[in-house]
Subunit: 309 residues, 4 copies
């Protein structure tokens, strides 16, 4: 197993990369190259492709495979690449995992199957059957708003006995859950506990979490890396100031749209305005139209990410 | 378009076929043949493959394509075959739809994309983009417990203006919703309104619905066809008696297991006890173990579907 | 116990009366008298006060007691009066129950305590403690959208062993649940199973339910009584036609407002337009303003309940 | 208005006091006196009675009034007393508020009416109507798990323009919501933002929140006061260590029971074991039985709150 590319525990900022598209089934290959360089230039500690922010479930398998190959080649080992393999089909998860390993990825990320609501014993059994088929270490991904299902603490505890289960990324927005996991794993320093929503990154890092999978790091990677470093340095004032900036992005760029798609649309629109990549969205979503785009532009100017004209 | 195989409106009992499996990625081909003959022998009005009961989202695409080919060949035009194309990926939905058309299916069935929770305008636009790519007429499939999303009545009304949208199957268990749709479509006799849960089949048929996609018709197709015929004949006493039998199946076979998987596990276990096909379940589920199997056996005996030993 | 006023099982149409108000804490006493006469003139089989439609939880206890006294005096034994005693406080439920008995009510209606989400064993124990303190028979009231809690079938089954538990009114809109209860109580002809939402009244009556607690019977009691009689006579065509009229009210009068308050606002507004009682609503709601009122007026004309001007 | 007893903003630890009971409608008056002294001895900054932890909705109005009188008399101005007035009835909220003012309370706490799910505009209007009737400043209380309703950020922003609205206590467990409110109120230093769940107290205090309404402070008030002081002193290591102790209470005492009642039952049981007050619970709950009581005892010993025997 090529898991030796993966630090245990994985720490730091691991951006969940958006997937630059030209149309429904065409990668924006040039944009992808620019985006990866933009992100890595920010000093991030890893790259996570084919997650929720990457619109993975909306992409064809062909395109997912193309993306894995291109992204791993572009990163070229500078940071560990994690690949989302979440699927409703066990067999397709394994297929993607093999593509990821062949392309040189360092790890995998797996949410629960998201069509059928499984019971926790069924979920544990599923993990026990799936992990032996995976060629790389795997992070659990708790994402109940989209999967309808929590990885309950006791399930995580039992799953973590599988040696290749390397950590958990929590996007439930429920910090009580996260703190309970921290309590459960206080004697397992190798088990990464990562937070999804960047609005919760500061407290995660201040209270012993290992890092964040921060969508905003597509846009402004340095901000989140600075926050990580400030927290490691226990510089509470700096954390508080950077947290305010993170919240400003959340309350502006991410709040332009309605519906659950608002965050990804905001990030893609901003990246397009920054000239980094196309903002085409996979179905069932579509890019922001002109009024929302102008609002995002104004927010980018206020945030100092675009020059005042 | 080969939609001429599809009556408009489609009426009657269209069983959502379970998918007989030998293991995680192997069809039980012999069992599939027996199951189709068993169902058709009951006098059903169509066959729906790759729905929720068919565990479609849990199957590999390879296996789904194999199933489409074998099922259409076995049915050989005796009844219209509907194929589920629900997917989180637009492109994969189109791929499956083309396989279905090539194999001779009569129509398609489409629930909402089920990872990202789309807004209703996004959902309508998705339908407007997808339907022109589909080679066959399509039924909308309202399945909020699994997709997190309703096809709200106004969205259905607008979608129904697309000529290839042939009807809607409702599995929300909310008969107020269903009756509102009936009100909206009272001047559209060509638009099929079908009910998913068989516990609601009687009232659907008595109050003007077109038919049912009844899971129990895998097991006992004649019962549901009899109920349909009694309702058409306005024989209220017969409907009430058959409704009691339908409820008896629901309160016995479907209530053996826990969790959402209980219905499919119960049907597959019963089919295995009847010698029709294997009861292997795709991940994240597994077949009933011995105690539940014995309980299902006892229920089958009480229902008169297995001889008392 | 004065429960001898209550037929077992209770059958027919038992309207959940709105509470006519002049302001936040003043009963519209004249309107109340007119409303009761209007409803009784429709031939209903009972009257239910202080339910959800009656805005009970929004009223002061003083006003609730005044209403109980006035309503029972006005009805004067012509039909059984049921009084809602649902409360988060056990002691206050008992207090209201005693008022009801003293005023001559025939029965009580009790939903689950609706602040703390109790477990089912806690709920059963609560019923076992409360019922001995109640001076009248009691109907359980399943109202999960407002109480967050189902009376699960097994809890109902156990609660029904208490002799004073006379039936259940289901407002869950889940007919599978209702049919399962019917299955559980098929050998208990004294136990009333009543349906809340009038959109589900037809199927309830056609398939063996005892009656309905139909909000629209405030407005047009005869319609629901006719539907009941048609169902008892097994006149399926008449039921279907009356069901269409019931749905027309639901899709017009009840759909003018937004939010959960839409139904009660619609009924009160219509009653005000008919000159029966004031449409003041208890906080946190308020009566419809002019545009909605005009819409309700137009709907009443279309329904034939107001003369075309 | 006697609101001058209330610091603006209110800061620190304001325990939500449990209500000591001897039976369904009898206060444990002696226990109440001991409990208040126990809590105040811990150095807390206020006392909140008749909240969720105080089982307010389950108590009779008579008992609530008795509690207000006794608690205010016992506290005797040593710290501000806040009184919960949440009710489904506007009139009853005002009644309790008047009792609170007459008894010398400093402020009020108000969650949304919790039976009818109001729309946000309805909720704002309700606040605009209610606040002029209240004799004391009021804190909003966001408690969606029990009320089914959020105070959405824009509603809070508008409500905060009412001068007597003094702050908000958030028990949603959603720190993204809380951080958004902090962003909205960054220029309103007089507006208190308090956190309910003590598991989130550390991050609240580290990132600019004003304090916590920590249920565990019934049991161990000093721990939460120490945490508050450590956060004010920006002593991150001390905060982290105290946070671990807070989580240990959460993962032991609060996790003994099942259902939503588990936290209150755990606190009351522990207080009973410490000899402070009775652990009788209002319906629909009941005190822990022997096995759970022994478990709580063992946890108290492990936490150093009871001597090892």
């Amino acid at each position: 197993m090529s898991g030796d590319k993966l630090p245990r525990p994985l720490r730091g900022i691991i951006p969940p990369m958006v997937t630059p598209l030209l149309d429904r089934d065409t990668l924006d290959a040039a944009g992808l190259g620019r985006l990866i360089e933009h992100i890595l230039a920010g000093g991030v500690h890893g790259l996570f492709i084919l997650g929720t922010t990457g619109e993975a479930p909306s992409l064809s398998y062909r395109l997912r495979k193309e993306l894995i190959g291109r992204a791993c080649a572009q990163v070229a080992g500078r940071v560990p690449v994690l690949v989302g393999i979440t699927d409703t089909s066990f067999v397709e998860s394994v297929n993607i995992a093999r593509e990821a390993a062949a392309a040189g990825a360092a790890g995998l990320v797996l949410a629960t199957p998201y069509y059928f609501p499984a019971g926790q014993p069924e979920l544990l059994e599923y993990l026990q059957h799936l992990t032996p088929e995976l060629p790389l270490p795997v992070f659990l991904y708790n994402m109940p708003t989209h999967t309808k299902l929590f990885f309950e603490p006791d399930t995580v505890r039992q799953a973590a006995e599988i040696p290749t289960v390397a950590g958990l990324k929590d996007s439930s927005s429920n910090m009580i859950y996260f703190h309970r996991l921290q309590g459960l794993f206080k004697d397992r320093p190798d088990f990464s506990l990562l937070i999804g929503p960047e609005e919760l990154l500061s407290e995660t890092l201040l209270l012993g979490g290992h890092g964040g999978v921060s969508g905003g790091a597509n846009l402004h990677p340095r901000l989140y890396v600075d926050l990580y470093n400030a927290a490691v340095a226990k510089d509470l004032d700096a954390v508080a100031e950077l947290h305010r900036r993170v919240m400003q992005i959340s309350m502006t760029i991410y709040s332009v749209g309605r519906y659950g798609s608002s965050v990804i649309k905001g990030i893609k629109c901003a990246l397009s305005l920054l000239g980094i990549c196309d903002d085409f969205m996979a179905e069932p979503f579509h890019r922001f139209r002109k009024p929302e785009r102008e609002l995002v532009q104004r927010h980018l100017i206020d945030l100092g990410l675009l020059p005042r004209q």
